[in-house]
Assembly symmetry: D2
């Protein structure tokens, strides 16, 4: 549904890059859910990032809770979160007005809205819209942690530089590392190499992309739905709504194309009374439903479309050819900022599935 | 929504592998849409496949239209399609009763439904449920063709054997080849090699997977929604509801992780009054919305989980360890059968988006 | 959503009066829910009614369960129910072909579907479509009874003849009377008078309507949603989908227009530890949410539109004026048949709300 | 869906009576739709009312558009409207803290949210939440007027005092009267009597209710859906989400209980090439679909629950009995304020149905 997502819990997103504010309305959040503004701010800060590797647009991104929260807990009614746009500089965009930035939404927005859209700074298509998603996601992440379900994402690969992989035997420790990291990698040295690659792209007026790897631990077997609401379907739906995501794979993903069934199948066994699988090629999901193993998936983030190099394009109002030189504030990479957004959309999806399974009372009773 | 998918047009799926019938209800199909039973049967036959490379379960899969169709056209009210299960042999499954087939839904169904599920032959999780989706998809494929929108899928890679790639300059011809192909490849020689690989897997009591590549041509720029209903979100949602799909990528997909923005961006230009892009790394989608270029995506199909080799597992009712030897009728590969199902889910998604954009009257008026 | 209704549990309806079959797909029914075919048949028989006061179209209306049920319990996956159309006599309608029956859907179906609709016998708009709703509703009624929630409906008023009112102190007894009644009234003598009025209308080639009163007992306080999913909103939505319903009122309903707040307010008190209200002008609903008192509402059923008297009308294809003489099989009253359908839609709505509140596990665990 | 309503166009509502702001997000509003802030303010002023007959809580209710509007037209992306709460006096409610106001949502909110709700001033259940609905509705009313579809509501009956009825032959003139009326009646003299009755109730520390009659003209035949999305179902769903509504009837409504089919049926005829009906007992709707005649329905508004007289009740946290004396700012009647809210919800519903039928492009093209 366009700008509303979810079944038993929904998020409704609004705002433009250069309007007065952007925001989100969460509906169906169970009464009693903790709403921790410090955690929310910390996660927004992770998304905002900083330093030379990120956008020169610096905004505090301080969320305002307009409704649905009292004394640090959800009331059960809609939670509206507003983030004012502080640092709006429309003039930056005047020079490129009406020019379609390649691989950006300028032309498609024109085709869809036929001239009525707010094109400035990407308008409603701006990556800035992921800020309210992160604010909302923070609530879901906290709510899941209260149920001992944890979500984490790291950069598995940036421009060919690879982080250490998730390793089930050390997963708890690895997830703790990511919670405190200011750059979402497990191996700090590799992180430094990635930052250098980003800086190099910036110097070249270019940009880089990469691959995020995400994990959900603690999700009970049996959560999910058959057919159209498989966990894969729902997570993919949610994650593809993050700008720049162009692919997703679960478990061994595309590598399964070159494996035999005898290699790809995950044998079941019981350990300490818990059903487990020897391997996790399935990414914790069989038949669309959680099997109790960690949910694992990887997401590809394309290189940022807005680069400073001159590019061939058209004026989308006149269809005349043109050369565009984008001079606004843009990131040479957004993958490190996207990690927490993937966490947010993942936590939302999992919470929605849990509410469908156990109802609102299951959460509310656990909040006393 | 579990077993219903869509916004302005919906499909509701029902049935179990070994029940009396499986089926689908289509709602919101515009009045006047052609319903061609020959095309439907032909597409069901493509899904059913045949010969030694496919399941020994041979059923006619003749669809019965229970409602919503008159004189070869949709009435505008729900179209219910039933496919009887003819060749039910529950005894095949007795020996493996209560054993969780690795990487299959037996255990997760038990966890979700707590013993009430129909486990026989995969029950509701059986790949057989893709037959009604194919029948429904046939209607959407025909309806789109009437609007000059075409959908096609081929096996890009099976166990390392690669088909010719889609090539925009010969796309029309390539799509015609696929329409008549009994095995969905562009290069018949490569197709023969793939068949041999499938046969080899069968001899080894094993199975193989692969990668499907799909294309949609003729979709006007401006179709799609921002944010949560991006074309990527909706197609991924729909395609991941096909069993065995574990990944999807649009345009250059995961390869974008290793490209610079200057390489990955698709420059706009105008040719014969049509806005086009020089390259199509974006897979025809910018900001979630069609840009008028072909929509291109790739889907990974895991190797069939049901293999005849003995496998370690558990009895899902007792949690005792066990060895399973699956002796039912199973395919060493399903990727060639999945191609038409991906077409079906794609055509459904595109039709739903077009109805949201132009309404039901746009279709109905075109059917006179 | 057109032919699908519900949030956590949905019903999808299909079929035409003169097609091969009509049916419904229930999705989201919790695993373990009892599916009692005897109860289902008994409730279908109540809807079918019999004798001279009802339609001359006699069909067994024996439901076939195509999926989702095993050994008398829901599997948790979709339940498809089919009811074959046995007694189809299209020729009855030939004489009135293309003539718009006054106050029936012939003309509006033509306006909507522009000639593609199945007009015979009302097509998809036929009251016959309430048969699958009744079959589905039977499952919800049984499921609620297992939770000690009861639903009942009687004819409060037929052509001015009034039944005894529901009386909270004898409600349990009254509801038992209705369970066994072959004509849904509390006072058999008044029921006889109503039957006589129906017979009189039939003799006059005319028809009568009336008012149904419904009650739900045992629903816990706190069920329901604020704003758009108030219990009133959801019940009204569900009940207005029954053909011939033209009004609904909750509690004192339209009589509240002439009361003061001091008269209309329901004072709270506590009795045996239970919160109750002294009166029930609110019909058990405050702010859209159940307050623990019986839910009470009244529904008006218009007189059957199909009458044998000649009536002024038009040919809906040519817009020429015409006189219509309807000679098919039609009821002089349908209100006694509609009672169980209102029960069905009510039980559906309440079950959906309970599943949203407590999840699927709450029901499944109670079914052991 | 709780706080989101609609199919192709949705409204998502948030806010509490005593929080910082209330608001609404509109999604799916076609690009180009006019957004006239003067009209919006005028309609908000009608809802706010004034003088002794209305609440002593005076707020400017000036809407702020946060997104989705540029130069007086919708951009096609979500429109977020915020209305700050200015005149918050929580202390007014301290004396009645934890006491359940009879026939209000205090107790049911406690039962649902288990103590986490914001109870002050009714919280999310406050009638104040109808302000954002009115602001949103203003956009839909303007959009429909551009298509020559008009919506109007008057007080048909207040405490037994009756306004002139809608009369089809003078409907255009009557609707114009209502547009300019500061009290929504056709007969000013009757309006004065109604105001006197309200004032009398206020003097008695009591309240009154009444009946609203609404009409929609210009809606083309064929709009609406069969079965679950009949116009009656959708309008009832929308209108029952307005606090204090306890009943709705279409056309002749409850009076149909005492009419014969021969009296109740609306004969079709053709006048100036237009299909019409001689009478309009059906309220413009046959089979759930518009027949081209005016849509007519009546809504009962219960007397305001908050009255100053002492009332028996309980403390909802302790279940102890209590006497409540409500001293906050409350209206002796809200029916005159509710009229524009019914218009708003009606216009929303009709616009949603039209967008489903004709798509977003139908509206956008008409806005040039």
């Amino acid at each position: 549904m366009k700008n509303t997502i979810g079944t038993s819990i929904t998020m409704t997103l609004f705002g433009e890059s250069h309007g007065p504010a952007i925001g989100v309305v969460i509906d169906g959040l169970p009464a009693g859910a903790p709403v921790n503004l410090e955690h929310m701010q910390a996660r927004l800060d992770m998304r905002r990032a900083s330093g030379t590797i990120s956008t020169a647009r610096h905004e505090a991104d301080v969320p305002q809770i307009l409704s649905g929260v009292k004394d640090g807990h959800a009331e059960g009614t809609p939670v509206a979160i507003l983030i004012p746009n502080e640092n709006v500089r429309r003039q930056d965009y005047d020079r490129t007005k009406d020019l379609a930035r390649p691989s950006h939404a300028d032309y498609t927005a024109q085709a869809k809205y036929r001239g009525w859209q707010d094109a400035s700074g990407g308008g409603h298509f701006s990556g800035r819209l992921t800020a309210p998603l992160t604010a909302a996601g923070s609530i879901f992440l906290d709510l899941l942690e209260a149920k001992n379900i944890h979500v984490a994402t790291h950069i598995a690969d940036l421009a060919g530089i690879q982080d250490d992989p998730f390793d089930e035997t050390h997963l708890k420790k690895q997830m703790n590392v990511l919670k405190k990291a200011d750059f979402p990698v497990l191996n700090a040295k590799q992180g430094d190499a990635m930052k250098a690659a980003i800086e190099e792209a910036r110097m070249q007026q270019d940009s880089v992309g990469g691959i995020l790897e995400s994990v959900v631990t603690g999700l009970e077997a049996g959560v999910g739905e058959p057919e159209f609401d498989s966990i894969e379907s729902l997570l993919a739906h949610a994650v593809f709504s993050i700008p720049a995501v162009k692919g997703i794979e679960f478990g061994s993903g595309f590598a399964l194309a070159h494996e035999k069934g005898s290699q790809a199948n995950d044998a079941f066994y019981v350990k300490n009374g818990q059903v487990r699988t020897r391997t996790n090629h399935s990414g914790g999901i069989n038949g669309g439903i959680a099997n109790g193993m960690p949910i694992v998936f990887r997401t590809v983030i394309k290189p940022t479309a807005s680069i400073a190099q001159p590019q061939e394009t058209i004026n989308y109002r006149t269809n005349q050819k043109a050369v565009i030189r984008i001079s606004g504030r843009h990131d040479p990479a957004i993958i490190h900022r996207a990690a927490i957004v993937v966490d947010a959309m993942t936590a939302f999806t999992v919470t929605d599935l849990l509410r469908q399974r156990h109802g609102e009372t299951w959460f509310t009773e656990a909040c006393r």
